[in-house]
């Protein structure tokens, strides 16, 4: 099963409530998958800085003095906010890649959840309500976000097997379904030099999109070609710095409902996830068509083929 949600705000006055609205939507989807949960929030940005959201199973040990250690290695200003098992480390944009290398040397047990200017990903094993409260998601503001609650089928129930998956800077993906050609695709992508950490099928889907975009495809084009190259069932919701997109496989047996008003565009695996959104009774509610890429953007001219982030 798995439950996925997404919320893209058009009305800026709702932004302080994004975390609250998105966590409520995800908690409603708990019985679609109680194994692990995760939320990606596109929040504030510090000019010239990039955020690495990292995770550790032993945060007390790993996060102690980590900002100073990175600063010593890289120079410049490094800030860190610790939230339970996660920490958001901000470094100068130019050092994003160097920070990853340094981090691997300084704290080999720390895993990178996401890299982005506005994106922060929080995910752990457990129920959505517990994961949301551990990271105090409901207090987070932002322009858009996506979330996932997992019923594991293709790989182990671990933090790294939880969604969303970071596919590139400020990009992430959640998935409902199962990919059946992930093993062969993983071998192919690893040969092409793409880093894939786990045996999880969705991570391969995310890596596939990364690979396509590295080759020059736009996010829209990468999603289009996923319809040819990914075998199995999928409803994907992808987040980018400016917006979010939705695509379903041609069979489209994994459910999806969308709602749009003047204030927001919302996605849910089921209508239940949307029922408490403001003005839902007057929203345009529909099911996204199979094999069709949908995209909403804060850019003035949104298009499915925009070069994301």
């Amino acid at each position: 099963m798995c439950g996925i949600v997404g919320l893209f705000l058009k009305d800026k006055s709702l932004e302080p409530k994004l975390g609250q609205m998105l966590s409520d939507m995800l908690i409603t989807m708990t019985d679609r998958g109680p194994d692990s949960a995760g939320i990606a929030i596109y929040g504030s940005e510090t000019r010239g800085k990039v955020k690495l959201t990292v995770q550790s199973d032993t945060p007390d040990r790993d996060f102690a003095g980590l900002d100073k250690d990175i600063q010593k290695a890289l120079g410049g200003d490094v800030t860190m906010r610790v939230k339970d098992t996660h920490a958001v480390i901000e470094v100068d944009t130019a050092w994003a890649a160097a920070a990853r290398t340094v981090l691997a040397e300084l704290r080999p047990n720390v895993r990178i959840m996401s890299t982005g200017e506005t994106l922060e990903i929080y995910k752990e094993v457990g129920l959505p309500k517990n994961v949301a409260s551990r990271f105090d998601i409901s207090s987070m503001s932002g322009s858009h976000g996506i979330g996932h609650t997992r019923m594991a089928t293709e790989s182990a129930v671990t933090t790294m097997g939880a969604h969303p998956f970071n596919t590139g800077r400020d990009q992430c993906l959640v998935h409902n379904g199962s990919l059946s050609n992930h093993a062969s695709l993983r071998r192919k992508l690893r040969k092409a030099g793409i880093h894939i950490e786990t045996e999880n099928d969705t991570e391969v889907g995310a890596a596939y999109l990364t690979w396509k975009m590295q080759q020059g495809a736009t996010l829209g084009q990468a999603l289009e070609s996923s319809l040819d190259d990914l075998d199995g069932f999928f409803t994907f919701v992808v987040g980018t710095k400016d917006g979010f997109g939705v695509v379903r496989d041609p069979i489209a047996c994994k459910p999806a409902v969308m709602a749009e008003t003047d204030q927001y565009v919302a996605f849910g695996s089921e209508y239940r996830a949307l029922v408490n959104l403001p003005g839902i009774d007057y929203a345009r509610v529909w099911e996204p068509e199979p094999s069709t890429v949908y995209f909403w953007s804060h850019n003035s001219a949104p298009t499915a083929t925009e070069k994301a982030a």
């Binding site: 489209a252 047996c253 459910p255 409902v257 089921e270 209508y271 239940r272 996830a273 949307l274 029922v275 509610v285 529909w286 099911e287 199979p290």
Partner: protein, 225 residues
């Protein structure tokens, strides 16, 4: 009229109350408020009662229905009226995938659009859709009628046995062994009755009829991989 607040009183209490009604019941009219997309609303009913659902429903609303009339004043989630045996289910909005799946009898009216696999493996139900239906509708349909006043998606009637399909608009593609068939006077009569029961003002003459070519009934080596 008995009003039931689903949020306050709970799904099990609702279905227990509805399922305990008998043919002789005096409580023939029920209204369900705060449906909020909940699953399995008004399933397994077996009495000639009228149930009105305010709002949209989740999975399997009206499943296994016998005798009852269930009217959803909103849209319906996946599997509405699945395996219905008799009675009527009316959806004012849209219906999600596999509406009326495997249903043996009764009437399912969808006033908006139906999604993919509408009437999959239908076994005698009459389904009237005012809008469009998605891909693989009436897949492996065995008996009954599917009326589509709008357009049909890909692979309509794939591997059809004997259900009748009537489509007024365009058919994106026909599935394996599904063909267009002649609309004879007796079919126009059947369709007229179906449209009346479905509260549609479409004219039977505007429709085309599709059905099984019956070429998959027997094993053919050329169909084997």
């Amino acid at each position: 009229m008995e009003t039931f607040d689903l949020e306050a009183q709970g799904l099990r209490n609702l279905n227990a109350a509805l399922q305990s009604q008998t043919k002789e019941t005096n409580q023939t009219a029920w209204e369900i408020v705060n449906a909020k997309g909940s699953h399995a609303i008004a399933v397994g009913l077996d009495a000639p009662i009228e149930v009105t659902v305010r709002g949209s429903t989740g999975y399997y609303c009206g499943g296994m229905n016998k005798q009852a009339t269930i009217h959803v004043k909103g849209s319906a989630g996946p599997g509405v009226a699945e395996n219905m045996m008799s009675g009527t289910v009316i959806i004012d909005g849209d219906a999600s995938q596999y509406a009326g799946a495997t249903a043996n009898g009764g009437t399912l009216v969808i006033k908006g659009n139906a999604s993919s696999r509408c009437g999959i493996s239908m076994k005698g139900v009459d389904i009237i859709v005012h809008g469009n239906v998605g891909h693989m509708s009436a897949f492996m349909g065995q008996s009954g009628n599917l009326v589509v006043c709008g357009d049909a998606g890909d692979a309509l009637g794939d591997s059809l046995y004997e259900a009748r399909l009537f489509v007024r608009g365009k058919v994106k593609s026909l599935g394996a062994d599904c063909i267009e068939k002649e609309m004879r006077p007796e079919h126009l009569e059947i369709l007229k009755d179906l449209l009346e029961r479905g509260e549609s003002d479409a004219k039977p003459e505007e429709f085309k009829r599709y059905g099984s070519a019956r070429k998959l009934y027997n094993f053919d080596i050329d169909n084997a991989y």
